[in-house]
């Protein structure tokens, strides 16, 4: 496909990209042993984007024959020409290192058959409901997603990638004395279903842990609202890196008014905090997501956002880099063939420190140990929030009763200054995450446990 697309790159009369992009996914969902969904989908096509007179023109269609490619380029140019932007006047995009290469992470193992996929759920469901008969509900989902891209640009970038991810999720519900309590966990991540270990036998301990945490949660109570000393487990450190800092440092948001724009070179966090948006699969090649060339054809390289507490850089597209005088590092990404590249994170993580988890918990007189996050949101003010589905009270340095669902929030550039401990054990969030910003996009996130002060919501 690279060979077929490459000649069309010469047709652009201004900076442009041509991308063939196919998303293939599967999803099986089982509730109480009943299959609620069982299928696969494929969504693909060709897109062209051109930049002229300060405006992008973009066009996409599901076909990828030569006529469709020519039509997409022509339509993109027409779209760019259809409006004007007086102030930009054709300001050039930032130059970047041209990406080249083939990055094919297709599994070498035989694909799991549809029957094999359903059997994973059926046997897990039987194991769970047999072992824990008092559960009110059991939801199991098995999903996979693979993004296949072929990209050529007028500047000369030539890249192909196939990046798969697959996730198994289990949610259990149990009756408590004041209503229903639920808990979800997932595993999997980088690779295809056949690359994972999803058999019930190998998941026995994981399921036991999930049930035990659910049982304790059912016996638990509401959080005490207010500013609290907390230890955030690594799962939350990852979403903290993404929501609280990463979004604030996306250069399109900086241009829109994000307060991070005022703080470059300033201390915004404890000097124990270093936060990086990694290219590839991260520093250890173990994140749930991989990227080597972005959708503008830029070679991906790591971007250190915060270095020992000092804000250093933002995340850029070629356009934002030109506006802010920076060098693009491969953060322009699109979700589907019909989407234009946006400034996005890749594998965003807080670097490990030197503290032991037990010492962090031991250092809390009264507070919470928060283990797992659900969703999150960020604001241009650096105020963030994320939901917490699993955690425990800490009283006099020891873990106490479990807590019910809550939400934590803070202003990132204040909260990060309260960090007193950074754990020595780094973990990527296993199954990875999806980020929503006009388009959904797969991201990796990770970090160690950290101890800090954060605002906890609750009725207690």
């Amino acid at each position: 496909m690279l060979e077929r697309l490459a000649p069309f790159a010469d047709r652009f009369t201004s900076p442009g990209e041509l991308r063939r992009h196919v998303n293939s996914s599967s999803r099986i969902a089982m509730r109480k042993g009943v299959l609620l969904s069982n299928g696969q989908s494929r969504d693909g096509g060709i897109s062209a984007r051109v930049y002229r007179n300060g405006v992008y023109g973009f066009a996409a269609a599901p076909q990828d024959d030569d006529d469709a490619i020519r039509a997409a380029i022509a339509a993109a140019e027409d779209n760019a020409d259809s409006v004007g932007r007086a102030d930009a006047g054709g300001a050039p995009l930032a130059a970047s290192a041209l990406g080249e290469g083939v990055y094919d992470y297709r599994s070498a193992r035989p694909s799991t058959t549809p029957a094999g996929r359903v059997e994973i759920l059926r046997s897990l469901d039987a194991a769970i409901r047999g072992k824990f008969p008092h559960l009110v509900n059991v939801d199991i989902t098995l999903s996979s997603h693979a993004s296949e891209k072929t990209l050529v640009t007028s500047e000369g970038a030539r890249a192909y990638s196939y990046v798969p991810r697959s996730v198994l999720g289990v949610k259990m519900a149990i009756e408590a004395n004041d209503g229903l309590v639920e808990l979800y966990n997932s595993l999997g991540g980088f690779g295809e279903i056949q690359d994972q270990s999803f058999e019930p036998l190998s998941l026995s301990a994981w399921l036991d842990d999930l049930y035990e945490e659910l049982r304790r949660k059912a016996e638990g109570g509401q959080c005490e609202a207010g500013l609290q000393d907390v230890v955030l487990d690594s799962d939350l450190a990852g979403i903290l890196a993404h929501e609280a800092i990463g979004h604030t440092c996306e250069a399109d948001y900086v241009l829109a008014g994000s307060v991070a724009g005022d703080w470059v070179g300033e201390a915004v966090a404890s000097e124990k905090i270093t936060l990086v948006d990694y290219a590839g699969r991260g520093f250890d090649d173990k994140s749930s997501f991989a990227i080597h060339v972005d959708d503008e054809g830029t070679v991906c390289r790591d971007v250190t956002l915060i270095e020992k507490g000092v804000l250093r850089n933002f995340l850029h597209s070629k356009k934002t880099a030109a506006e802010l005088g920076a060098e693009p590092a491969g953060n322009a990404r699109a979700f589907s063939f019909s989407d234009e590249p946006l400034v996005r994170m890749r594998n965003t993580a807080i670097a490990a420190g030197a503290d032991k988890l037990e010492d962090m918990i031991g250092a809390v007189e009264s507070g919470y140990y928060l283990k797992r996050a659900t969703n999150g949101q960020a604001d241009f003010t650096s105020e963030f929030m994320f939901g917490v589905s699993c955690g425990y009270e800490i009283r006099k340095g020891k873990l106490g009763r479990a807590i019910r669902d809550t939400t934590i929030s803070g202003v990132a550039f204040d909260m990060l200054k309260t960090v007193t401990h950074v754990g020595d054990e780094f973990r990527w969030s296993g199954a990875g995450g999806w980020c929503g910003k006009k388009q959904p996009i797969a991201v990796g996130m990770g970090g160690p446990a950290i101890k800090c002060k954060i605002t906890v919501g609750g009725r207690g």
Binding site: V34, L35, S37, N38, G39, Q40, S41, R42, D43, G44, G45, G54, V55, G57, F58, A59, A60, P62, Q63, N79, S82, V83, R85, A86, P114, A115, V118, E119, V136, D139, A173, D178, G179, L180, C223, A225, G226, L227, A256, G257, V259, D262, S338, T374, D379, F380, T381, E383, M385, G387, V388, R404, D405, T407, S409, V411, T455, G457, G458, R459
Partner: protein, 435 residues
């Protein structure tokens, strides 16, 4: 197969069903759509991006003796269609048989047409320009970004093996604005507004209620937390309720009834909300671009009074769960409206002793028990009937079951988003806290 590539949507979906039956399916259904999308994206300084997308999507569901398999594709090529049929069959063969799996029997509607044939790009551009001019003259502190005026034209055909055939074409405009206020180092929270209409937004400032929202953004440059934790009132704005309604709908859905996870499971016919609260599902509203003529099983949609004066009339049960639960189908597509009340928004604010104007909920998804806790974004502190200041770092916690019962006023004023329509709701009993 070559003929398939040039077939009409009706013929394409019918042919997918025919091929599934010929291959041995006991039943099958197919849905195909042709999509045309045009978008103008802009910020304060003008246009960023003009985007056009064509797509040709389809889905096929195959039933094999009570087992179900699905596949979706885009494109009409021989290989793509054959691969999708293979996928659906392989999935169905691997599936788990369930007596609820089947295609629907339903009347076939006449083909319908909603909205305009072609995007009125001139008026779309005028709408963008008028908003930018108004921002320059009246709201110089407001920054907007990633804001869109778009036109979506989708033609959809459905067919199943019981002979149900449906077709609708729905074209609508959408306008969305993402904005904040900045002055020096002072910054408000980001906020957004969005609505859809069958007509282009020649004056989006008026249609989206942007005057109120932009004014609130400017008044939010100096946010402060609430003075202390308290249990008080919330006046839930239509924008805030739009973000919460899905959780209420989910709790009233057939899926939740089947899971046994909804607190409303045995509440049909009972009061679950204040007598001032009435919630309806209105997918058939001809004036609303967010509606639908038929659902994913090809069943014609119908309107439903879900909650009337606080009493739960019915649940939102689609075709599959109607068979699973052995209950009538009541809903296959959602478009919620809440009935207006007789209070003025000004009077509602004046009646609050202590509480907040709750403009957006940013928090973890409410659990099955409908407990919620999250940040009150773009919101304002109210004391002794007056709005005192914008809120920052303020959290709200409560339970939707209780909140619905604690509604004590509903506004005359309302906002119609196209996809939903809500008034302001005043309720008591929410815990409001800060750092």
């Amino acid at each position: 197969m070559t003929s398939l590539q040039n077939a009409s949507l009706d013929d394409f979906s019918a042919e997918l069903v025919a091929r599934a039956l010929a291959r041995g399916a006991s039943a099958a259904q197919a849905r195909a759509s042709d999509d045309r999308y045009f978008e103008m994206q802009f910020d304060n300084r003008g246009y960023d991006l003009v985007r056009s997308v064509q797509n040709a999507a389809a889905s096929i569901t195959v039933f094999l003796d009570g087992k179900r398999g699905d596949a979706s594709l885009n494109g009409r090529s021989t290989e793509e269609v054959a691969a999708a049929l293979d996928s659906a069959f392989f999935a169905a063969e691997a599936g788990v048989a369930d007596e609820a799996n089947d295609v629907a029997a339903a009347p076939s509607l006449p083909a319908s047409r909603h909205g305009l044939d072609i995007a009125d790009r001139a008026t779309m551009g005028e709408g963008v320009e008028s908003l930018l001019a108004r921002l320059r003259s009246e709201f110089p502190l407001v920054r907007i970004r990633d804001s869109l005026h778009s036109f979506s034209d989708v033609e959809t055909a459905f067919a199943n093996s019981r002979g149900v055939a449906q077709k609708e074409r729905r074209a609508r405009y959408n306008f969305s604005a993402l904005f904040m206020a900045r002055e020096g180092s002072r910054a408000s929270s980001v906020n957004w507004a969005e609505a859809s209409s069958y007509q282009p937004f020649g004056n989006p400032f008026h249609a989206l209620g942007l005057g109120r929202l932009l004014d609130e953004a400017v008044r939010s440059l100096d946010p402060r937390p609430v003075p202390c934790k308290f249990e008080g009132d919330v006046i839930i704005t239509p924008e805030c309720f739009a973000g919460l309604a899905g959780s209420i709908g989910e709790a009233l859905s057939g899926a939740s009834l089947f899971a046994g996870t909804t607190p409303f499971v045995d509440k049909k016919g009972e009061m679950i909300a204040s007598p001032l609260f009435s919630l309806a599902n209105r997918p058939c509203d001809k004036s609303a671009p967010g509606g639908a003529d038929f659902d994913g099983f090809g069943v014609p949609t119908s309107d439903l009074e879900i909650v009337t004066n606080g009493r739960l009339n019915d649940f939102l049960i689609d075709y599959f769960f109607s068979r699973k639960l052995k209950a009538p189908q009541t809903a296959g597509a959602w478009r919620f409206t809440v009935t207006s009340g007789d209070a003025s928004l000004a009077a509602m604010i004046a009646g609050v002793k202590r509480g907040i104007l709750f403009s957006r909920f940013s928090g973890g998804g409410p659990n099955s028990n409908l407990d919620f806790t999250g940040v009150a974004k773009n919101s304002f502190y109210i004391e002794d009937g007056e709005i005192r200041h914008a809120l920052g770092e303020t959290m709200v916690s409560g339970n939707f079951q209780e909140l619905l019962k604690n509604i004590y006023a509903v506004s005359r004023e309302r906002v119609d988003f196209g996809s939903a329509s809500y008034p302001w709701l005043a309720a008591s009993g929410v815990v409001i806290s800060s750092k």
